[in-house]
Symmetry: C2
Subunit: 296 residues, 2 copies
């Protein structure tokens, strides 16, 4: 029986599954991200019993990563600040150990692909998946294919208007200060308000400000990519009150200029949470493995 | 001999060519945009003598336009503010009159396609073409295909940080005020400084401010789309001193976060003017006609 593997390679945890679809998962394991040697050895141990039937592995990895097929460091995690993980050949190591082809992607591109295959973006071919958590990242599918381009998108680092008078907070991004991630990721919420976002009540002004920045970013995505849907996931988006507020900001900011029912009366079906929830990453990695030929 | 037609359908002028490539143009004509009836009749008159050999027409049109192949108004100019042109069936009219298939695109997508076929983006498959003139518009090619998505990109209307203290100008966009177009298109230059941009000397502070807004926008495009090249055309970009200034702003704003030689020592080959110059639009329309099958 042909089997496939999915690996969500996160900065704090790895999740592995083996199977052939979201309802056909034979095994699943989750462990903390320690050293590359130890962590990747656990990955190999997990898949080894299935090696005879394994057709391909998909990896959705924290980054930055090298996605250029022609590059000598293709499939590496490259200049990450995470200690010990700089220049780690994830793809090569797994291919050598398990003798299967490995599809290597950014974590957000994998999650986007999972939502395209089995989740909230099955009926569209151009969409964006954004995760808002410890950081902000985005993956994009355009005309049915993942976007890599020069490196890979880094949507979290776009600049949006920052009203210094209303919000004198200078931002937490070590590179940019008040880029989107610096203003609106989890650590920015915590630093601005002096407590973790989970502890802030729904009626705290934090959430209107958060919706303002995320709404400005979504409006910019609409202007640049004209996506047919925008999926917002990640820890911060568990605060469901953000969805209606972000939708309002997007309509406000676009001000009727981009005309489509999706941005007007159907906006609740346009800006949505991931249908696969927290499994978008690992199932997306599995989907990449299953769709391997169409990704080359 | 198989011939193709290209039509740059602009809000102030139409340009038509017939031929089979930029060095094989048999005829070319340019006339002002008056009423749809009169203007489209002139287009038909231009192509009629070649009708027997004409394989396809490409149109790069001012907008907004309907690009959905399944829509009953596919190929229409839709809700344009241009008097008389609302809901004009450009594609249908030309197909009926000339009995050839018509490829219908936004003006900036056509120009992008022209640069991809014969210009500054022949060696890449993911790039952006932005024109800065009376308005600001952008077209994108991702993985070798034009981006339509929900409607089509409207890159000129993205929001970028606006330092109200340094630049109290409120912007000229009737929809958004200080979106990119409202801050940096030709009319914004003229309104802010009290004279047409062409009259402002190179050492006028206008140009650093202009480069700041355009650089912020380019940096956002890098974050969202990860293009392999960015082409900046249009009347405002004839001020060539903008190019080195914009490149510096982009590097400043990205602050080394997105690592690639294209953004570092090779940035002069990354942010470039259109190789086809003012012909990008009409030659791009011609290229769309010649590539017709691959666009479906």
């Amino acid at each position: 029986m042909p089997l496939f593997g999915g690996i969500e390679a996160g900065g704090t945890k790895f999740v592995c599954v083996v199977g052939s679809g979201p309802t056909r998962i034979l095994a699943r394991e989750r462990f903390p991200t320690t050293t590359p040697q130890e962590t990747l050895a656990r990955v190999v141990d997990f898949f080894r019993p299935y090696a005879d039937d394994l057709q391909a592995l998909g990896v959705g990895s924290f980054g930055p990563v090298d996605l250029h097929p022609d590059s000598p460091t293709h499939g590496f995690i490259t200049t990450t600040p995470k200690p010990g993980w700089q220049h780690t050949n994830v793809k090569g190591f797994l291919e050598d150990a398990l003798h299967v082809p490995v599809m290597f992607e950014t974590d957000v591109n994998a999650a986007a692909w999972g939502e395209h295959r089995w989740g909230a973006a099955q009926d569209v071919d151009t969409f964006v998946y954004v995760t808002v958590g410890t950081g902000i990242g985005g993956g994009a599918v355009v005309n049915g294919r993942l976007v890599h381009g020069l490196v890979h998108p880094e949507m979290g680092h776009m600049r949006v208007p920052h009203d210094w008078e209303a919000d004198p907070f200078q931002g937490t991004c070590p590179f940019h200060g008040d880029c989107l991630e610096g203003l609106a990721a989890g650590p920015a919420l915590a630093a601005r308000w002096g407590m973790r976002g989970e502890l802030l009540p729904d009626d705290h002004p934090a959430w209107d400000l958060e919706a303002r920045y995320l709404g400005l970013a979504v409006a910019n995505l609409v202007c640049v990519l004209s996506p047919q849907r925008i999926i917002l996931g990640g820890g911060v988006m568990r605060r469901t009150t953000l969805f209606p507020r972000i939708r309002r900001v997007v309509q406000d900011v676009l001000a009727g200029y981009v005309r489509d029912p999706a941005l007007e009366e159907q906006i609740e079906a346009y800006i949505v949470p991931p249908a696969l929830g927290d499994d978008a990453g690992v199932l997306g990695a599995l989907a990449l493995a299953m769709d391997a030929p169409s990704q080359d």
